[in-house]
């Protein structure tokens, strides 16, 4: 591993080691560019992961204080847990389920296709599917996505069998075990899936792609990477000309360190990334870095999620095997005859008993609830993932009084459902219920959204500098050596799980950064 001096201003500093930051680090290192990768969390290994939900949550989740506001139910049930994302080397790629779907062509041009929608801050992405296709192909190969590159699909588990049977009876056509970054057979030094069933708790077989044991060690092998874990960035610093010049971070002992940099890439996920830019406000940039548009922190999206769980006469054991074991893709089109713009995916999901008790109907008690858990081993479940509308008022702001352990203002996450979100969720609940009823369900539960796992949009890409924070390469409009490298650059949410697109954008961004460095533009 490289060792880079605090005063060395020739390296690229990347903040966050997940899908965006971890991938970008490797791509740059492979090109011979020196990188310092700063990660707030600890460096765990596969051996540390535990198949036990609460202890794993305590090990991997981002638990620093956050607050919430708005009409979403998460604000009521989990007021200090707006998101279920990770603080660990590998970021949320330790926790993600592995679904790897390309965003559809029309979704990159949401404003064009959906038209004006009241109270939605819709614009088109400053890029198209065609621009991304070669990079999607690279990402799918890198991650080993099933049903691409000749990689067979995964075998379906019991939970998938129930969803498949119901979906087919209902007439759905595209129902299969998905495109998953989980090895169906050994590939690239990683084992095949053992159907362990704790995908969310860190994959113990390494079959699921995570930057922790793919991109990051590959980057280290080049000799160009210095990974610093337990290094929590507090501010991005700039020089008198307004270019970013380094970062101030708290190391594992709580001591503040100033690391100089040639380029800074922010990849702390869609709550921490805008928070960091806002916390970096200075005399020159009183509203925070890269915020001349006022859009930093705004347009927070979290997908129109929800779950449907159903109980059956006979056993299912849904938790056995991959957590996200299959998909119904028929509802992912833009078809306004359903009463809303955009589309959604239905994907199997299971929770272990401890989390099912916490999330099935947060705050519930009584016989109906305990009867459902009594039937836990007879339960099947699916998750709804749909496009939600960007709204300016849905935003990450700095709390006016609450501070974190480093003395920095904590983020508040405000979210109100858009009426399009509600119409979509209700449609998806109805369809999910019909799927399970077609498979013979006894009872059906419409479970409200969990703390957000797909956090998007708070530093969005835009063609015009007044509409967003960065351009189509994630380069901020205001500061040319400051980049956004995570899901916060998404212009709109689309219906697909975002990780594949985050990785795709990181690969493309690495090419752009290398080219711009070569031209001495940055």
């Amino acid at each position: 591993m490289a060792k880079i001096d605090f005063n060395d201003n020739s390296a690229v500093v990347i903040i966050g080691s997940g899908a965006g930051g971890g991938t970008l680090a490797n791509e740059l290192c492979q090109k011979g560019i020196k990188v310092i990768l700063l990660e707030a969390g600890k460096h765990h290994s596969i051996a540390d992961f535990v198949n036990d939900e609460w202890p794993s949550f305590s090990q991997l989740a981002w638990l620093d204080k956050r607050t919430t506001s708005g009409d979403w139910r998460v604000a009521k049930d989990f007021p200090n847990l707006p998101a279920w994302i990770c603080k660990t080397v590998g970021g949320t790629t330790t926790h993600w389920a592995g679904a790897s779907l390309r965003i559809q062509d029309h979704e990159f041009r949401a404003e064009t296709h959906y038209g004006k929608i009241d109270d939605a801050n819709l614009i088109d992405w400053p890029l198209t599917l065609k621009d991304l296709e070669p990079y999607y192909a690279k990402a799918e190969d890198k991650m080993g996505v099933t049903r691409t590159n000749g990689i067979p699909g995964l075998p379906g588990n019991n939970n998938f069998k129930v969803m498949h049977a119901g979906a087919k009876k209902l007439g759905y056509k595209e129902v299969h075990t998905g495109r998953m970054a989980i090895n169906s057979r050994p590939r690239n030094g990683r084992a095949a899936c053992q159907q362990i069933g704790f995908c969310f708790q860190g994959c113990k077989s390494g079959a699921k792609w995570s930057t922790l044991y793919t991109e990051i060690p590959a980057a280290e092998a080049t000799g160009n990477l210095e990974l610093r874990s337990e290094s929590h960035v507090l501010q991005v610093k700039h020089d008198a000309e307004g270019s970013v010049s380094g970062v101030l971070y708290a190391d594992k002992d709580g001591n503040q360190q100033l690391q100089k940099a040639r380029i800074v890439c922010v990849a702390g996920n869609s709550i921490e990334s805008p928070r960091l830019l806002l916390n970096s406000a200075s005399t020159m940039y009183p509203d925070g870095l890269a915020n001349s548009s006022g859009q930093v922190g705004r347009n927070y999206m979290r997908h129109t999620t929800g779950s449907v769980y159903a109980t059956f006469e006979k056993p299912v054991y849904m938790y056995r095997g991959t957590t996200m074991a299959g998909i119904i893709a028929d509802e992912n089109q833009h078809d306004t005859s359903r009463g809303f713009a955009g589309g959604y995916e239905m994907e199997t999901l299971s929770l272990g008993l401890p989390f099912m008790a916490a999330f099935l109907d947060p705050g519930a008690s009584g016989k109906k609830f305990s009867d459902a858990l009594e039937d836990y081993d007879h339960m099947a479940g699916m998750w709804i993932v749909g496009e939600d509308m960007p709204q300016e008022k849905n935003r990450v702001t700095l709390h006016t009084t609450e501070k974190d352990q480093h003395g920095q203002p904590v983020p508040n996450v405000h979210f109100d459902d858009h009426k399009n979100d509600i119409a979509m969720r209700n449609h998806a609940y109805k369809q999910g219920t019909l799927v399970y009823e077609a498979a013979g369900a006894k009872t059906v539960w419409e479970t409200p959204p969990y703390p957000s796992t797909h956090n998007l949009g708070t530093n969005r890409m835009s063609t015009k500098a007044s509409d967003g924070v960065c351009n189509g390469f994630g380069q901020t409009h205001d500061i040319k050596n400051l980049f956004i490298s995570d899901g916060s650059q998404f212009t709109t949410g689309a219906a697909e799980n975002p990780t594949l697109t985050i990785v795709t954008l990181a690969i493309r961004q690495a090419d752009y950064i290398a080219e711009q460095m070569g031209k001495k533009n940055i």
Binding site: P55, L63, L81, P152, K168, Q194, G326, L353, P354, F369
Partner: protein, 185 residues
Amino acid sequence: MKNEHLNRREFLCNTGKTLASVAVASSGAVTLIFPATGWSAQLAVFNEHESKTLLRMTREMFPHDKIEDKFYAVVVTALDTDASGNTDTAKQLKDGVANLDKLAQGDWQALSANKRGAVLKQIETTAFFNSVKSKCVTGIYNNKELWDHFGYEGSSAEHGGYINRGFDDLDWLPNPPESDSPKAH
């Protein structure tokens, strides 16, 4: 052994109303001497009436007919541990029990099942009710000794996962075609 089930995460502690506030509850080994008469005498804060009322309350909130009282007693013991470390918590829980009896105009436990339920309904938005509920969610469903009852098999990696242990053994619905669900490689 001291009961260790409630290693609360400070980050969520101050909300007092979130289920995640009991983010880390261990397996809650049932080391209690129960239902031997000594049980409530071992508690630090609750008297016998309070502990029995709370035991009844937890069972009514999350009724599972085949689960023995000793498992609900784990929840009450955890509440007692919390109360012993925080006077505000102790007051909230003791006052909560007293309020149940007040609303019952006597011993709440002595009411009929329907009437007990009606009283609980009256207090279901109180902080007291929420404290007891949150503790139940982890105290019951995160208790490894009860997972077998619910048909949850827990940690699987050390057993090689389910690839050869029934991940696809459901036989009461048609199997999907291989195009949708390929065979394992």
